[in-house]
């Protein structure tokens, strides 16, 4: 899958929309889990819904699968409304968070389950099951029971069980959440490969931003039942539209403040602690003077210098509070004279590290930071 992303599917006629959510609400016993979300997911896209636990992302997935009916709004799959269509009639298959394999059946029977329900011919079932087993590299485990498999192996079976049905959409609910780090990395690669091989639409729910960033074509960041932002991974990372997205995706330093003066090229901002900052506004900027804002600066965008630099707009003095050596990078904690604490991430240039408590200057350009309306 290429990273050419269709921001507005309706604009591109040749791109088909597989799943569409229109102003979908879901209320459980008075608690609103999903508060009016709109998503269009294109055919063949790897789409992730990312957010902290309780943000409504799993509910959204279950609404698409049909395990929940929306309280309001509409869901369309391949252009058809699926209101009141039970899960077993929807052209989607789910890979469940803890796999939900049938422990009374062998791996083979688990994978063949959907095909047998469809009453396909014996030969076809056999052929498709072995294909699926090969796809997830589990050929030699067909006769085992799920309890005799490791977590990663169960994960593969769960994948095969969904994929063997050749669904229009594969829903993945925290598919790698139960695996250890190394296995997770491996499976991420395999998931990506599978997606590229099959060209099926994947919708994945995850709280792991790294997983979302590395696998997805597009990501929807959810927070408290709403979608904060939908965009490509770089979009989400480089141009977060809200303080929540900026904070949730990657590390960042945030300064609360307000706009003192604005022109199309630069915003003059004063933070609550009294720092003056110059920020280049985003294209979508439409804030006014005295608008409260949050300035976000990624740690890796901050430069460190032992000398004060007059030609930099955003240059502040402070002292080094903590240094963490990370091998490829060095992580600094800098306390500014204003009292703010900054994290700074610099490539390890093999220079000798500054000593603790050294007076130091940090700076960044107006284009390396973002002003987000609070």
């Amino acid at each position: 899958m290429s990273q050419t992303v269709i921001q507005d599917p309706s604009a591109a006629i040749d791109i088909k929309v597989d799943v569409e959510l229109r102003n979908v609400f879901k209320v459980f016993n008075g608690d609103t889990a999903v508060r009016g979300i709109d998503i269009s997911i294109c055919q063949g896209e790897f789409f992730s819904i990312l957010g902290p636990s309780g943000c409504g992302k799993t509910t959204t997935l279950r609404l698409i699968a049909g395990f929940e009916e929306p309280t309001g709004g509409e869901i369309l799959i391949r252009g058809k409304s699926v209101a009141h269509v039970p899960p077993y009639l929807r052209p989607v298959n789910t890979v469940f968070q803890s796999y939900a394999l049938f422990n009374h059946m062998t791996v083979l029977d688990n994978i063949a389950f959907g095909l047998r329900i469809k009453r396909l011919g014996k030969a076809e079932i056999q052929q498709r099951v072995s294909e699926a087993l090969r796809l997830v590299k589990m050929e030699s485990f067909a006769r085992r029971f799920p309890s005799q498999l490791s977590g990663g192996q169960q994960q593969r079976v769960a994948l095969a069980r969904a994929l063997v049905n050749r669904p229009a959409v594969v829903l993945l609910d925290e598919p790698l959440g139960a695996l250890d780090l190394k296995l997770r990395k491996e499976m991420q690669v395999e998931l990506s490969n599978l997606h590229q091989t099959l060209g099926v639409t994947f919708i994945m729910v995850t709280h792991d931003q790294e997983e979302a960033l590395s696998l997805s074509d597009r990501i929807a960041v959810m927070h408290e039942g709403r979608i904060e932002q939908i965009g490509t991974p770089s979009d989400i990372y480089e141009n977060p539209q809200t303080p929540f997205v900026a904070d949730f995706i990657g590390d960042t330093n945030l300064f609360q403040g307000y706009v003192e003066a604005s022109d199309p090229a630069a915003l003059q901002i004063t933070t609550d602690k009294g720092l003056k900052m110059v920020v280049q506004p985003q294209e979508t900027w439409n804030g006014a003077t005295s608008q409260p804002v949050v300035v976000s600066v990624r740690p890796e965008k901050i430069q460190v210098s032992l000398n004060e630099l007059d030609n930099q707009p955003n240059c502040y003095s402070g002292r080094l509070k903590h240094v963490m050596y990370l091998g490829t990078h060095v992580h600094y904690l800098v306390e500014l004279s204003s009292g703010d604490c900054l994290t700074v991430l610099q490539p390890n240039r093999a220079e000798s590290l500054p000593a603790l408590h050294t007076p130091i200057h940090v700076y960044w350009s107006a284009t390396d930071c973002l002003a987000l309306t609070a």
Partner: protein, 273 residues
Amino acid sequence: MLLVPAGAWLLLLLVAPSLMILEFSLHPGLRPGQAFGAYGLGNYLQIFQPIYLQVIGRSLYFAISSTLTCLLLGFPVAYWIAVMAPKRWQNLLLVGFVLPLWTSSLLRSYAWITILRPTGVLNTLLSTIGLPTLDLLNQQSAVLIGLSYNFLPYMVLILYASLEKLDKRLLEAAADLGANPQQVFWKVTVPQTLPGIAAGCLLVFITSLGDFVVPELLGGASSMTAARLIYNQFLGATRNWGFGSSLSMLLILAVSVSIALLIKYGDQEPERY
């Protein structure tokens, strides 16, 4: 060492009495107060006389029919309580359903007499709404009603325990893979709760096989069961403890075999992960 107390109890309460019954059963025609005669299988051969086989056959018929009835009635109830009812009501519903267990089974059987007798509650109701009355009391049907009613709560309790542990995501997974509700039920719910079903059936089967209150009170003139036959051998006029013991051994054997089968095949289900 930790097994010693349990082992001692087992020996005292289970093994020793069973061995005693076995010993009794091997002396043909043994009566209390008599010296043990020669060993022999006469008591066991006596069982194969047609009248006794008929009694055993009736006991099996009562036990199997009431087990099936309990399963058919108990499963929907247990399923409803465990899966469909709101979580906070589950305990209350369960308590409500097993409440009859707090009364004596004798009392419950008397209640059924009141309901089923010719001028009883049921027939009064039927004739009020213009339907023909039923002669159910003192028939096999009354025994089946009584046994099923008595043991239904046990079945529901065991099935509930099993259904409550049922992983609901498996049901969703099956639906997700295209199974309609019936297919989900037969391909996932039933296999997943099979150990519970087997345990419930076994319990109802064993207890109704040994019950003689219900057949005695509701069954009328032709209600002799194996349990009553054993009772008659021990405490009736004949006092043929030898024959009674051989019948008891037969019941013990039947029960042990079914439990062994349950342990052997019930255990094959792979553990949940």
